[in-house]
Symmetry: D2
Subunit: 397 residues, 4 copies
């Protein structure tokens, strides 16, 4: 592409802007994946990634996209014919369900309006009904990348516990890990699915399964055919920092740097930064007079905000104008939201002035595209940001 | 690791030395995988990779290690209970068989001594016996990374044809693609499995399936559960340069550069360069008085040479000495060859002087480690290289 | 420095934000500066840089900062005791004068208020007075980096011509080249001084002298002792793409890429982009109710805007707040402007959204630092940017 | 240049192979050279570079080639008409003398045969003759890059002291610093001149003056016109980590990394490594039956070896063959040595196997070019390297 002056604003909700430190860390020769230098790298990343999941249990690292880690969570714990409880919170929840069905899983899919998260009351009710424990897993998307709606995982956990049901809890954190507070161990999650290209600030190509004791035990007995995704095959060499097949070494260099950066900033600060930018974004949206897709404030996403365009207007046309005129990529509305919403990613390696540039691009784009709105959105965001050194109370907690 | 002066010699048979041009190509911001700039990239790599396989048919690109592409070849074309014909040519053939077994495939595994390639006569005989066509696929490793023995794929094809058998031909070219002459279409291969980290000179993290019409048809009818590896899901978005899930964008930047580099040099020259370096290496080994593991000259690998150490000596101790004293990584003997052979990788981004450095490291290492040998190995290699502008007749062709 | 999330905004008026393409172009092995590959590089950059100066005459490239190129312009054309006419347009004009004095040059330094450019009427008057042509050179800073005031070089040229005076015209374009329209040949400039780290988007370390026939002739007769800066020593090897001493090869890699990028965008577009961002910035400043240091609209700089803070307030304290809270570097007031102005760089690799982020940082910083101002500055800039596809009429032309 | 497979061998005696760690360290955004982050960098490099010179006194860092640092040493300490004592040890000593002459320095240039270093006896005799101390400086090249001959600086110091002469001692270490043992303070050197692109493993573009108290005092009184090179202007801002004009920030990033790497390896080990590789090279040259240019073993260079080709043969033709066939750059014979010698650089980031590759390229090149020689050179080098863990006794110490 011919140069046009200045840096592209990549404000889709992932892949996110990869910081120079991480690109540089990856830009070095690949090493022998069976040698002592690799071993040190392997041990560092396998150990270093754990606090980011809020776990002291094993985290499996795959050379694969997040979709692969979805598949891994299923093929390690479930068998064709098993029943699971899932929730139609948006496009990615729907895709995960489709994936499960391909492996012969029977999915009870609680319908949703794509504007709300998982209803913990429904979880409890469904599990109470399931007296013979046919349901083997409750599968939840923590942060719906297609809608900017989060589901409150602790409430889901409590619902399961209240129902006294043995189902595993599988949670997709692909677009929340490293951006929104998450606690694999404390919240009693059995499998956490994640990817590299969002809050971890890496290019795509790595994905993760954090695995509880209970899930690990289930995998030992599980007869679903599998090889690439098999946890057991991973665990043994991982104990020494190695992998059963050639790992994506250069992405692991990047992961080591990403972990270092997140630890330098501190996870609490990282989460507060995301909360603050999300709140500033919502204030801009409201000032524009546009509607936030997420209908429940306690479920607002700190990683992205999906914004509805007024009836009769096309969000994709707006996105095209913004890309052409202002060199910024925004997320499209997906599936049944196509053309109706655009999504602002405000996650990953991001700061106040980049957010201001992002909101300026949206505000000017709305004008250029002729979408009815009030000005003053960025103003509202700035007033919030300037008055706020970083403390944000988040409803969900 | 603390600096010790000079560049590490990574002479394992993969991952290979990644050229600066490729590292630099990858060292740039990730882009929107749904936008127009990505589309151009996607179209370029999906088209550009084809001549390297010698095909005009689709090549599927996975964000995964080569092991994933092994699995993909199986789950797309075979069903639990299917029978396949495989050959014990070495460690990787054995691993591929194990993988197939995990998916319920019945593997007829013709025993071998790890010093010879596939015997085409046996292929023909076995297929002729199989009158009711229970064998669904013949699965062959083109270049056994564990032994430095190649199998002559055209002879296998002819054997299948002579037997008039409809079995698919699946070939692993993980350590040969881009290094040793290979022709997916001309040789009538149905699925070619490959990876990024060998002849393609990339870091690990991408793998490939080149797919014939016949294999594609088989996949349409195949009921083996699959999702991540599913060819059909890939093909549709691929037609426009896109992928069904987030691709490993930065590795694709590298792939575009790798394709450009191979085209600049010309595949014929690339193969001749590898043949020449392999011949120089074998002359060194013979001058040292050591034995080449590969027993059949027509099956010598141009990607690596496995060398046997005399009885009573340990190849791993030699490798340790060479790593410590000369900062070079060599390949270990695997499985039943552990301690008995070491493997010299001479593939990928490589030239005469790097080969000389490599052979010097081996020759000095043999002395330091006290392994009986004659000197003069590097001398023999130099005499060959200096007298030879590049023409090499290869027995196998 | 510990990671704090997001990308630093480097909005000093140079060094500017180095684009990734340039950093990557520099990130490769140094080559033999006497070999054929270097020769090609040398020829490309020596030829490619010329259109950026608007010249077909030689451009000398030094491995040095811009200060070195200032010195080079003097030691090649002037001799101790020579008289020159200079103008106190700001801090850098003053420094250049001091440098000239160190080499024994007698400088007539026309006083100024640091808010105006060179008065062409004064040039003409002074030269008319100088009947015996004691004045050997008129030395002008095109864009005063310390004030954001440009001098209109064509008017200076016309003044010299009207006076019929043979003085050389030396022009410093360190902070204008590649950002503000400039024409070495058309405007009859004899020596143009430039540096790498502003409009050329490179790191610091290269500087330039574009040299007219007349200046070259003067240098041949000039007896000022010199070696490193000597044009004659450079010219001969330059004809073949080489240099008389080891050049800064990796910066030349970057220069090749910078030239390519400017040519891709087109110099007319580059200048229009800078004009437009400068106008947007001034609209923001006026909306804030602050005063632009440059007093004459025809002399507004398109590279930077210096803004006065109200009496009783400290611009450095504002800058400190902005750096701490919003991770943006702005330029300080220099010398007699210390504490009184801050300077916003809007040059180099820059676009609308980065400008919006920059202005947001200033606007929020003014609030946090408690500097009296009206809000709405960024709003005014956005209204201008969104209504304007790129056409800007510039008063100076 | 089109890809040809493998990594270029850059075996000129500088610029040397820049390690990836240094290229990567430089590949990051330029920062504000007046801000706190730069200050830390400035302090680190200004302090960190001192032990590499063996000094606790100031080291001045210029954004310039080594030639600039030659000029700086002169213009800070000498005045037109001053007399200096220099020695024709080779091409660079001759160039430095020419440079001095351009600044009006009267150079007594003791003739030499380009095969020997400075004769300390001559130093003493010349200084004893100079009863009225007209000689202001003794100027010596530590390692003659054109010949591979070192001069023993401690002996020169002793000669000056024995003569009781107050002359300054200026030493060029451009191709020795960081490769050959050197001690600015202990050896009583007044100005040490150095560059970035040799033992410091950086790209060209930085150069250095280490300055004694006595030289600093001389500079305070010295009236030679100067500005860019002026030590006094540098010293004040340097105290806080800053520079009087824009420094070459990205090269300073590289310098910080280079210092770290040299400290990790340890200077004693760095010198021993160079000594060892030089000895191995000489053994190869002798085994080939070729003559080493340096006539005095106590003066052998550990940075490079200049090799004479037999009469009637052309070293440049040999170099061309080696570049074309083996992708290796060697140093040319310069000035009166043109065509008669080639120079093997074995300095900087280098190890045993790279040396073996280098010597293989020379040995094969000799054959291809038809230059009479015996084989066995690389063999001799390998026997030395394999038997030698690193201890080398060097005659000069």
């Amino acid at each position: 592409m011919a140069h046009r002056g200045g840096r592209h604003f990549l404000q889709i909700p992932g892949p996110t802007n990869v910081p120079d430190r991480i690109l540089r860390a990856m830009d070095r020769p690949t090493i022998d994946h069976r040698g002592p230098e690799f071993q040190k790298l392997g041990q560092e990343v396998l150990e270093g990634i754990k606090p980011i999941f809020g776990t002291t249990q094993p985290v499996i690292i795959y050379p694969a996209s997040g979709t692969g880690a979805w598949e891994a969570a299923i093929v390690n714990t479930l068998t064709p014919g098993d029943k699971v409880l899932m929730f139609e919170t948006g496009h990615f929840a729907t895709l995960w369900r489709t994936l499960a069905q391909k492996f012969g899983i029977e999915t009870e899919f609680v319908p949703g309006d794509w504007r709300h998260g998982v209803d913990a009351g429904v979880v409890e009710a469904k599990l109470r009904e399931d007296r013979d424990h046919a349901i083997k897993a409750v599968m939840v998307v923590h942060n719906e990348t297609s809608t900017g709606v989060t589901s409150r995982v602790p409430l889901v956990r409590q619902a399961i516990d209240r129902a006294g049901h043995p189902a595993l809890l599988l949670v997709d954190t692909i677009s929340s890990l490293g951006s929104i507070d998450y606690r694999h161990d404390e919240w009693g999650v059995d499998v956490t699915v994640a990817g590299s290209q969002k809050g971890l600030m890496l290019p795509p190509g790595l994905s993760f399964n954090a695995v509880s004791e209970k899930a690990m035990a289930a995998s030992r007995d599980n007869r679903m055919p599998r090889s690439y995704w098999d946890w057991q095959d991973m665990l043994k060499p991982n104990q020494n920092g190695f992998f059963p097949y050639t790992p994506a070494t250069n992405l692991l260099y990047g992961l080591r740097e990403a972990v270092a950066m997140l630890m330098e900033e501190g996870m609490t600060n990282v989460f507060a930064r995301h909360d603050r930018h999300a709140e500033a974004t919502r204030r801009a949206v409201r000032a524009w007079g546009l509607e936030i897709l997420c209908a429940e404030p306690a479920e607002y996403s700190s990683a992205l905000t999906a914004v509805m365009v007024p009836n009769g207007h096309n969000a994709d046309e707006l996105r095209r104008v913004i890309l052409d005129r202002f060199d910024m990529s925004l997320g499209a509305g997906l599936a049944k939201l196509a053309g109706k919403v655009f999504r602002i990613g405000h996650l990953g390696d991001f700061n106040d002035l980049s957010l201001a540039g992002t909101l300026a691009g949206v505000e000017m784009g709305l004008s250029v595209a002729g979408i009815p709105h009030r000005s003053g959105g960025l103003d509202a965001a700035m007033r919030y940001l300037e008055g706020n050194g970083g403390e944000v109370k988040k409803a969900a907690e």
